[in-house]
């Protein structure tokens, strides 16, 4: 997987988030403060600008640039959290990028978020979409799947993980203030995480 693929990943993610900006914000309005779509849209626009201004030489550089930009431009909870996913992923990623190498590095990124946010599976956060995606990647590698199959499965797992947050009661982040009233709504961060995985699947096709 070449550097261009990773640059394309964030361009596609930016496009999908822009398209779904209002849906993400409405999900956040229901159990948060109605800014998630706006936050990510702003952040990813900045990421694309950064990647265009100084085209990175390596996949790893694309990811660390993206992660750092998200931390520097988004704010809120999702800025540092997404930022550390991509920064850690970038740090751990070796060139040339193989599917197995990406899968291992991605798992490190997910672990970084879990640690930073002290969130576990079932807390109704982005982790509920990211962790299943990571697991799906690992299984695909084990089963010798193609890059394309692997990312399709990761995207599907993230999407299912996001939908699975609907019946959950939030234990982390703003939604946790609602207690039982958080049940019945999809977590906005899990929804945006699914968009990131969908974008990746799209660009490797």
């Amino acid at each position: 997987m070449e550097t261009e693929v990773f640059t394309a990943w964030f361009e596609e993610a930016a496009r999908l988030v822009r398209l779904d900006r209002d849906r993400l914000t409405e999900l956040d309005a229901a159990i948060g403060d109605a800014d998630h779509g706006v936050n990510l849209d702003r952040g990813l626009t900045e990421v694309c600008k950064a990647l265009a201004d100084a085209p990175p030489e390596s996949p790893s550089q694309v990811l660390t640039t993206a992660g750092t930009t998200l931390i520097r431009r988004v704010g809120g909870a999702s800025g540092p959290l997404y930022g550390s996913v991509f920064r850690q992923l970038g740090k751990a990623l070796e060139t040339p990028v193989t599917l197995a190498g990406f899968s291992a590095a991605f798992e490190e990124g997910v672990v970084a978020v879990e640690r930073l946010g002290k969130a576990a599976l079932g807390d109704k956060t982005m982790v509920d979409a990211l962790a299943p995606a990571s697991r799906a990647l690992a299984l695909a590698v084990r089963d010798g799947a193609s890059v394309r199959e692997a990312f399709d499965q990761a995207a599907r797992a993230a999407e299912e993980g996001a939908k699975a947050t609907i019946p959950m009661q939030a234990r982390k982040g703003r939604a946790s203030y609602l207690g039982e009233r958080s049940i019945g709504h999809e977590d906005p961060g899990a929804a945006s995480a699914a968009l990131f995985m969908a974008a990746l699947a799209a660009v490797v096709e």
């Binding site: 914000t25 229901a30 159990i31 403060d33 800014d35 909870a77 959290l81 982040g173 703003r174 207690g179």
Partner: protein, 326 residues
């Protein structure tokens, strides 16, 4: 939605320009609001910040006897580490800097990152978590920081102005937080400029109990009731976690869209409740201090005073949002 803005994207910067134009005592640089005169050698610097939309918090509390710098984020979005790092470096007078952080995941993460990244400056930080509407348990992000932030910024600011060392300022700031609790009730939802419609729908016949200051819905909904009953609900919630006794600092805070007259009606009920519990309103604030854009509603914040805290509260303060003694 009708708002006095130019664009949703420019509202925070436009408002900061207005603050700079209105208050020669302030300087705005790279989305950080500073005292115009800059840091004082040997004085502990106080930096706070958080999402915009809570005005006058925080930028309105920058000035003598209170904050040295405020970092406003996007609307309802905590600031980014860069702002906090700039502010921390700029206000350091050699005695270190205290970060006053409201307890929200985003605020905590961004201030933590900034504290790690800023080097050469001694940084302490205090977490404000006074909102009794949220249970402080393993199953939540913990109590939110709301009205008590004003108390912490004012009293810690007075202590820093008096030349106390960082450890002492941080200690008292934590003490003020521990001795303070708040509860908020919304009659309407706020509307963010970007969303363009109310964050939550609230029928004419109902109010939302235990709301946050970001338009987060509360814990429960009840039928609209009289000021006496609503004040009673808020006071019982506070009294349950912080039994009222002795001298109290009482703030009846407007959420942004509620007229002062109504806040005074609520204050009368709050004062009667306090009296009924055998405690005493020793100091008070009535007005818009920690708002949530155009939300209609109020919050009550109470701090159990002692002589030291009373002295710190009474000390001179000169900021756009709070001023006395000079």
């Amino acid at each position: 939605m009708k708002k006095l803005i130019n664009t949703a994207d420019s509202v925070v910067d436009d408002a900061l320009n207005g603050m700079a134009a209105a208050h020669p005592s302030l300087r705005v640089r790279d989305q950080v609001v500073y005292r115009a005169e800059g840091p004082r050698r040997g004085k502990v610097g106080l930096v706070s910040g958080g999402g915009s939309g809570h005005e006058p918090l925080h930028a309105g509390f920058v000035g003598h006897g209170m904050l040295d710098a405020a970092c406003p984020g996007a609307i309802f979005t905590s600031p980014v580490p860069d702002q906090i790092i700039d502010a921390t470096r700029a206000v350091n007078g050699g005695a270190g800097v205290l970060h006053i952080v409201k307890n929200y995941t985003g605020d905590v993460l961004n201030f933590e990152m900034a504290a790690e990244l800023v080097d050469g400056v001694q940084v302490a930080s205090v977490l404000v978590d006074d909102d009794v509407a949220v249970q402080d348990s393993l199953y939540t992000a913990g109590r939110r920081g709301t009205g008590a932030t004003v108390f912490v910024e004012k009293m810690a600011g007075a202590l820093a102005e008096a030349g106390a060392p960082l450890a002492r300022v941080a200690g008292v700031a934590g003490e003020v937080d521990e001795r303070s609790r708040s509860f908020g009730i919304a009659l309407t939802s706020c509307t963010t400029p970007h969303a363009g419609k109310p964050t939550f729908d609230l029928p004419e016949s109902e109010v939302e109990l235990g709301i946050g200051i970001h338009g987060e819905p509360g814990r429960a909904r009840v039928p609209m009731a009289s000021a006496r009953e609503l004040a009673g609900i808020a006071m019982e919630a506070i009294h349950g976690e912080l039994p009222l006794r002795g001298d109290l600092l009482v703030m009846v805070n407007g959420m942004g869209g509620t007229p002062l007259m109504e806040l005074y009606v609520v204050f009368a009920e709050v004062a009667a409740f306090v009296k009924g519990k055998g405690a005493r309103v020793s100091r008070s604030l009535v007005g818009n201090y920690v708002t949530s854009l155009d939300m209609q509603g109020f919050s009550v914040s109470i701090c159990l005073l002692d002589d030291t805290l009373t002295r710190l509260w009474d000390a001179p303060v000169d900021t756009p949002g709070l001023r006395w003694g000079r």
